[in-house]
């Protein structure tokens, strides 16, 4: 009888928190993303149709592949940090970018990913460029001491060095915010503090794009190649940069508005949309030469947009707002029940829309949408 009791004695000490020497947590650039059943309910920032599947990226290195049949699979990703954008050039090759300047690459439609670049390398690229620029300009201005343009450029170069050093010192923290590839070979990624990198070999080698005029190191939020072959970069403070030669040279920067621009979208008929902070929507019919402002029914910041096959335009943003328009002028509003920010929208099937945002993935049937539009 007593022996039976004794055998039941558990050990209290098991659950006592003691400082144990453990391996510690590897850096988030070095540890794989955790597999979790909650990935679809955690923050998702961007999505794209890839073949019949839907690829989504988001917090903690989550990449989800939603099959047309309804399966939802979390992909193996080598980093554990917030991914901010994804872009596939075909139904196999794609890139995703995120915090710490990370660039990931997939060759199997998003099922697996490998790291191509991170902020440590970008920081070095930018510092090398800034230092060489200082050296070049110091030499030039020594030759021509009265050239004011040169001394301004030199000041900018000094600032660029300081900024690059600051970026390296704290660690590779600065996020890349968008990525766009022209082909499986050539693409660009843009991000915070004027980060912009370019590759011509599918991401094996990246270079810093120094020709873009951004001495204040403002954030570059989005990048898009247009149908006419030109490249557009938009970002903080309503700035838009445009290059017609693949980023070799850039037209003088234009400031379209005070509000930051978060997303560029070109629709089937060639019209160009720029959307951003506080309900900003700008429309261009001439590949971004001239822009007009569109008045929207809400002042919510807009983060994502898509055009459906029937020409319907969808914008999503802060507070779970979804704006719908047939003509790009007159928008009607739908409110997601969760009221948390929506960051991306895409058509999942003929009848169903996929929405991603701070609360993860949700589906919305077009019938319900039509019914509830205000």
């Amino acid at each position: 009888m007593k022996a039976k009791f004794a055998s039941l004695l558990p050990l209290l000490g098991v659950l006592v928190a003691l400082p144990v020497v453990a391996a510690g947590l590897p850096d988030r650039l070095e540890r794989p993303s955790r597999m979790t059943p909650l990935a679809a309910q955690s923050q998702l920032t961007d999505l794209q149709r890839v073949g019949d599947d839907m690829v989504m990226v988001g917090a903690s290195g989550h990449v989800l592949v939603h099959g047309a049949g309804g399966s939802l699979k979390q992909s193996q990703v080598p980093v554990d940090l917030l991914l901010t954008a994804v872009h596939f050039v075909d139904d196999k090759f794609g890139w995703a970018v995120g915090h710490d300047g990370v660039i990931l690459h997939s060759t199997d439609a998003g099922k697996s990913w490998s790291k191509q670049l991170d902020g440590r390398a970008i920081g070095k690229l930018m510092l090398d460029w800034a230092e060489s620029e200082v050296a070049r300009l110091e030499e030039a201005s020594a030759a021509a001491p009265d050239d004011e343009a040169l001394s301004t450029a030199l000041d900018n170069a000094y600032f660029a060095v300081d900024d690059a050093r600051a970026g390296v010192e704290a660690g590779p923290s600065r996020p890349l915010l968008d990525v766009w590839f022209r082909s499986a070979q050539e693409g660009w990624a843009v991000g915070a503090y004027g980060m912009i990198v370019h590759t011509r070999d599918g991401g094996q080698n990246w270079t810093f794009v120094s020709t873009l005029e951004n001495p204040e190191r403002l954030h570059l939020n989005t990048v898009l190649g247009l149908a006419d072959g030109s490249l557009l970069v938009a970002g903080e403070g309503g700035r838009v940069h445009r290059s017609s030669d693949g980023g070799q040279t850039w037209e003088p920067v234009r400031k379209l508005t005070d509000a930051s621009l978060y997303k560029l979208l070109q629709v089937a008929d060639g019209r160009l949309l720029a959307l951003g902070f506080g309900g900003t929507l700008l429309l261009s019919r001439d590949q971004g030469q001239n822009w007009q402002s569109v008045t929207l029914p809400v002042r919510a910041s807009l983060y994502g947009a898509d055009e459906l096959s029937d020409g319907t335009l969808l914008l999503v943003g802060q507070g779970g707002v979804l704006l719908v328009s047939q003509d790009g002028q007159d928008f009607k509003r739908w409110q997601a029940p969760g009221k948390t920010a929506l960051l991306g929208v895409a058509s999942f099937s003929q009848e169903v829309l996929a929405l991603v945002g701070n609360d993860g993935l949700q589906f919305l049937s077009r019938a319900v949408l039509t019914e509830q539009l205000q």
Binding site: L9, A17, T36, A170, Y303, K339
Partner: protein, 784 residues
């Protein structure tokens, strides 16, 4: 040989002591009565002063490492631990009316001034710590929920609604349907100015009168959830509990009279039992104890123990008088016969109760003290006062006729029952018991520690508290079961990237644990703050390696998220329920995480919050339950061994008790009752109460055996007197407590049921199983 003489000598020494006591007692009967009269008056007067007394600190296992950690950082953790949530509902619609907001302000103010409230941490829409932040083109803006120029107009109210959304208070402080809001009221267990402990009874009374009733008249519905309210409701139900006690006592009195047909012995029995309870309460009061709501059943248990001893006494007394003794002679003979077994049994009870002290939870230790004092008093009232009183009162003529009738009976039932000591009946009986034990073991497997249901298991599901709790669960997203993990860094390091990254990883890992619904912490706040400062762009919602960014992100964090030194950040896990399984699952997940990643610089400490504290309580109870049972059995076995000087007899006495303990646990498991603070004592007390029967029965049998009777004959003779008393007591007490199942308090109803089972099982065990086992172990060819 030597040991034998030693034994005889000590036996006779004991006998001499009994004779000495007997002479002293019966030669000074008036003196004894006077002593008890004075003592009763004094203690009775003190008993009037006894007050309900409860404490949050006493409910928690103070030396458990979880609680040690909690107490170390109590200041920052209090808002999640001993806290009341006051729900103020507008039954007529949404909260955005001038009238509602005004009433809410009054409620908030009224609560602010209630003594015992931690005013600095009080939080409602109206308090200055309810803030919102928002991002604009020109940076971050912040303000109070109720705007500065608030005038109750439409515009102001729209502003309030917007601020609630901006502050992310929907689902936590404001109901999802906008029809009610919550006022969070942390309590101070000790008044920092006067140093006096919080009086839960008067606090909840004040809350009831000054808030709930007062504002109900003003058209809002008030609901209160939290530990203090449970205690308040228990204290308020004390009159109900007392009423049921009174019913039980009345019922037992009637049954007692029907049994003995003698109003004198009935009156003496009930009187001495009640006196025991009064003196117990008086002694408690003298010693400075109050009556904790969780110990409220103890006075009744003392009454029950008293009854079982008194019935033994009057039964034997009647039997002696039936043989022609005078009341005084009968009383003296009874005293001689019962003093040793009675005192031994009561000592065993006391020891059983005192073992509850091993449980490191204040309220259970208090219960141990309360019960032991009661038994201590019972030794005096039952062993000394009762015989003296009976020597005066005697037995009425009717009682004697009843006794005569009984004595002349041929005892058909007992005669048949006595045959269980024959091996051909004893063996199958023991086999059946073993099967029962097996079944009990199997059924006991489901026995859980802690609470098994949502809400407060002390009350019925339809009780006000549980309805209020259900309302809160239904209309709010944030649950009331909060498990807090303390994230401890060196000073001023809480917002470092490495700390945030680790904390975040832990939060993500724990979010995956079944039962964790959401997480709130400094780090969630910082992440929000970082993207808020980047124009509110969610793509920035990630920690930065840049310390400036992290420090900025920390500023403005609510005080419940981090201590002023930036060294402790509570990670609040909101759980789906507080079932024991959920709690231990979370505790194990946290432990596993910290084992894997903790490096020494940063410590991950468990646990606070009501759920964290309950997890610790469960762990302590789980361990202590086993310890306590082992101790109870070992110590009571020693007492029994000391009394009978035989290992075999000890086994025969203890085995039935073990069976009833196992069966009691099995029934608990099947009924969905968890082992917790409220139920744990019953198990220990059950053993204590059960051993009395066995000691009385076997000591009587032993007497007959010494007179040379065969085992079966001795058993039969013992059944006639002691056995009748045991059967009567067991049944009477069982019937008495069975009425509790009608109690409005589920706590009392559950206890009632468990006690019914224990009384009956112990009775059957002592009457039937004990002799059966003893016959196999003790008998030889001669004695059979």
């Amino acid at each position: 040989m030597n040991a034998q003489t030693e034994l005889v000598r000590s036996e006779s020494a004991l006998q001499r002591l009994v004779s000495l006591t007997e002479r002293a007692l019966f030669h000074n009967r008036l003196l004894v009565l006077a002593f008890f009269l004075i003592a009763s008056l004094l203690l009775g007067w003190k008993a009037l002063e006894i007050r309900p007394d409860a404490s949050f600190t006493r409910m928690i296992p103070a030396s458990h490492p979880f609680i040690q950690n909690y107490l170390k950082f109590e200041d920052v953790l209090r808002p999640q631990s001993n806290v009341l949530r006051v729900v103020v509902e507008n039954p007529d619609g949404e909260i955005f009316t001038k009238k509602y907001m005004e009433t809410l302000r009054e409620v908030s103010d009224r609560i602010f001034y209630l003594p015992g409230v931690d005013r600095g941490n009080l939080k409602s829409l109206w308090t200055p710590n309810a803030l919102w932040t928002e991002v604009a083109t020109d940076g971050v803006r912040a303000g109070r929920i109720i705007p500065d120029g608030y005038d109750g107009g439409e515009e102001s109210l729209a502003q309030v609604r917007q601020n609630i959304l901006r502050a992310n208070m929907l689902g936590s402080y404001v109901a999802d349907d906008f029809r009610s809001t919550i006022i969070r009221v942390p309590l101070l267990e000790v008044d920092p100015e006067t140093g006096k402990p919080l009086d839960y009874g008067s606090f909840t009374q004040a809350l009831e009168n000054q808030v709930r009733e007062h504002f109900a008249a003003q058209g809002v519905t008030i609901r209160v959830i939290g530990f203090a309210q449970i205690i308040g409701d228990l204290i308020a139900a004390a009159t109900d509990i007392a009423l049921f006690f009174a019913i039980t006592v009345g019922l037992i009195t009637v049954l007692l009279y029907l049994y003995c047909h003698c109003w004198r012995s009935t009156a003496v029995t009930v009187l001495t039992c009640l006196l025991t309870v009064v003196c117990q309460l008086g002694l408690l009061s003298v010693l400075g104890y109050g009556l904790d709501p969780y110990s409220i059943l103890v006075p009744f248990l003392i009454f029950a123990i008293g009854i079982s001893h008194a019935v033994q006494n009057i039964n034997l007394m009647m039997s002696e008088m039936g043989h022609g003794c005078t009341p005084v002679q009968a009383s003296r003979r009874t005293f001689r016969a019962l003093f040793i077994p009675g005192t031994t049994a009561l000592l065993a009870d006391a020891v059983g109760f005192i073992t509850l002290l091993v449980i490191d939870i204040g309220v259970i230790q208090q219960l141990a003290v309360t019960a032991s004092i009661g038994v201590f008093v019972a030794i005096f009232t039952k062993m000394f006062l009762l015989p003296v009183l009976m020597s005066y009162a005697g037995v009425s003529a009717r009682g004697m006729r009843q006794q005569q009738k009984r004595a002349n009976s041929s005892w058909p039932v007992f005669r048949r029952l006595a045959r269980v000591v024959e091996p051909r009946f004893a063996m199958p009986l023991i086999l059946i018991s073993l099967v029962l034990l097996g079944v009990g073991y199997y059924a006991r497997h489901d026995l859980k520690i802690g609470d098994l249901d949502v809400g407060a298991p002390e009350f019925r599901p339809e009780a006000r508290y549980n309805r209020d709790n259900a309302y809160l669960l239904k209309h709010y997203t944030t649950s009331t079961d909060v498990y807090v993990v303390m994230f401890k860094t060196p000073q001023e390091q809480c917002s470092r990237f490495a700390a945030a990254d680790l904390a975040n990883q832990m939060e993500q890992t724990l979010r995956d644990v079944e039962g964790v619904e959401s997480v709130a912490s400094l780090y969630g706040h910082m992440r929000f703050s970082i993207f808020a400062r980047n124009e509110g762009n969610p793509k920035w919602a990630e920690f930065s390696r840049d310390q400036y960014v992290m420090n900025n992100a920390r500023s403005g964090a609510p005080s419940e998220f981090v201590d002023p030194n930036c060294s402790v950040a509570p990670i609040n896990l909101y759980l789906s329920d507080h079932k024991a399984e959920t709690l231990s699952r979370v505790a194990q997940a946290v432990e596993a995480f910290s084992k894997q990643y903790e490096t020494g610089e940063i410590e991950i400490l468990q646990a606070a919050g009501n759920a964290g504290i309950e997890a610790a309580t469960n762990m302590v109870i789980k361990v202590s339950e086993k310890q306590m049972l082992i101790l109870v059995f070992v110590i009571i076995s020693l007492v029994v061994w000391w009394e009978f000087k035989s290992l075999k007899v000890t086994i025969a006495l203890m085995a039935p008790l073990y069976l009833s303990t196992v069966l009691c646990e099995a029934v608990m498991a099947q009924m969905g009752l968890g082992v917790k603070i409220a139920t744990l004592p019953v198990i220990a007390l059950g053993v204590g109460i059960g051993v009395d029967y066995g000691i009385y029965l076997y000591s009587r049998m032993e007497g007959f055996l010494h007179q040379g009777l065969k085992f079966q004959a001795a058993y039969f003779e013992a059944l006639k007197t002691t056995g009748t008393s045991i059967a009567f007591t067991g049944l009477t007490l069982a019937v008495g407590v069975a009425t509790w199942s009608f109690s409005a308090l589920k706590f009392q109803a559950d206890m009632g049921l468990l006690l019914v089972l224990l009384f009956i099982w112990n009775m059957i065990g002592a009457l039937v199983l004990l002799p059966a086992i003893a016959s196999l172990l003790v008998c030889n060819r001669e004695t059979r």
